[in-house]
């Protein structure tokens, strides 16, 4: 990886406007073709050995049962109200300890990194679980594009604030914008992805379109949706649920059957879509990804760093 500090940046490094305007024209042209050939809406992706072989939940399960407080606190609110969100154009501000800070168009962020299907277990802090066939790319590969500076220790993310289109933001239920963060080694881990799709197609708005984080060994609230800002920093960033209730929602939020939420047990989980009398299943350490990620936390007391 070639390191570059902001001081090395020249105006010549900025993409000339005519270039990205041309690119947009090309994309618009491609969209026109997509209308002629509807099947082209499918994304191009490769499969991954990191996928679970468990059966994914149905598209209906995944798109009608969401926690996305930007659209309301009810599980059905995101599917009812998220269609109002405009996701094109979409740009992401990249700042902090990176070589190439700036405001990037989504297509530029994604260019050059092949999309992969990652079928992951998904575990909510509320003790329900699903299996989701995400389409995305490793966060680490995208961070490398920006040139992570050696002093960077954490990555912080922010969700869009647009109350006109995100009706939940008209109420102060959370301190907007929604914020999340990872330690740099967690962010660079191959399991950590930025998802842009679901079931082979573009991500539905209620699932965090057009760009969301997915960290499969952590509770779902870490997997921030509709990202507009990525900041590399040397100190642990503030995160929304931790700010609201630090005794209940830690920075790490690793799935752990032995560390209960103060108000409910995390020892078991309910699998959405399993039926009326399916009951519960034991929660798995790191949501079943212990072999891959336990090493990140060696020497840490997970009851303290919950």
């Amino acid at each position: 990886m070639r390191r570059q500090s902001p001081a090395d940046l020249q105006w010549s490094d900025v993409t000339p406007k005519s270039f990205f305007l041309n690119r947009r024209a090309l994309i618009a042209g491609a969209a026109g073709m997509a209308i002629a050939v509807p099947a082209a809406a499918k994304l191009d992706y490769v499969t991954s050995p990191l996928s679970t072989d468990e059966k994914p939940n149905s598209l209906e399960d995944i798109t009608s049962y969401n926690n996305f407080y930007e659209f309301g606190t009810g599980k059905g609110d995101p599917s009812a109200y998220a269609p109002a969100l405009t996701t094109d154009p979409w740009s992401v501000k990249v700042d902090g300890l990176v070589g190439r800070p700036g405001s990037y168009d989504l297509a530029d962020l994604l260019s050059g990194i092949p999309l992969e299907e990652r079928i992951y277990r998904f575990r909510c802090v509320e003790a329900w679980a699903m299996v989701v066939p995400w389409i995305g790319l490793p966060l680490g590969k995208m961070l490398e594009k920006f040139g992570v500076q050696p002093g960077a220790k954490y990555v912080a993310f922010e969700t869009l604030v647009r109350p006109d289109e995100m009706r939940g933001q008209k109420s102060p239920i959370l301190d907007w914008p929604y914020r999340e963060g990872l330690r740099l080694d967690e962010a660079m881990h191959p399991l950590t992805i930025l998802a842009t799709g679901l079931y082979g197609e573009d991500l539905p708005n209620q699932n965090g379109a057009p760009l969301r984080l997915v960290v499969p060994w952590k509770y779902g609230f870490k997997s921030i949706k509709s990202i507009v800002r990525i900041t590399l920093s040397d100190s642990q960033p503030e995160t929304t649920w931790n700010m609201l209730q630090p005794s209940e929602y830690g920075f790490y939020a690793n799935v752990n059957p032995e560390v209960d939420h103060p108000r409910w047990s995390q020892a078991t989980e309910r699998h959405i879509g399993a039926g009326l009398f399916a009951g519960r299943e034991p929660t798995r350490m790191f949501n079943g990804y212990a072999d891959q990620v336990a090493g990140l936390y060696s020497g840490q007391d997970l009851a303290r760093d919950f």
Binding site: N57, Y65, I173, R263, W264
Partner: protein, 207 residues
Amino acid sequence: MPGVDRINAGLRRVPPWTLYGAGAALPVWLFWAATTGGLGVDPVREIEHTLGLWSLRLIVAVLCVTPLRRFTGLNLLRFRRAIGVTAFGLALLHLLAWLVLDMGLYWAQTLGDIAKRPYITVGMAAFLMMLPLALSSNDWSVRRLGGARWRALHRLTYPAAVAAAVHYLWLVKAWPVAPILYLAAVAFLIGLRLIPRRRAIQSPRPA
């Protein structure tokens, strides 16, 4: 208040058992909807929460009966027993839905949760307080206990209502409006009982 009198007259033609019928229709509908996909992708949670919410709504309704009669003249006293017993029935089904559908009869965790999780403890307390109220909601019990003791026992309604509303507020994440409003309604309705009653007509004292 002629308007209220007309409403009261109309209500006298409504038999209280219709409330039991409506109360029984809710779980029947929930079960039917759950088995035909009408409750969405998580019917367990939907059944559990709907039963709990309607029980709490009826608890609030029960608390409205006395203040409505006192401050507006609207008389729903004939329906109070049916409302209360239906609230208890839905709370019982809510508890069963939690035990069987949500916890999947996972007894080790269930018993631990009742003791360790404050919102479950307080919900269970609300249920246990409602139990003697439901069991004594019949004419035989009123006669057996005598009016004064029966009324004293039924003051348990107040702590049970507070516990039920706290149970709801304590289980949600963040501070959504609905559970706060239910707790505020319960507190307000109990607070109305603290307003001293003026004697209707001051009888002139003999000199």
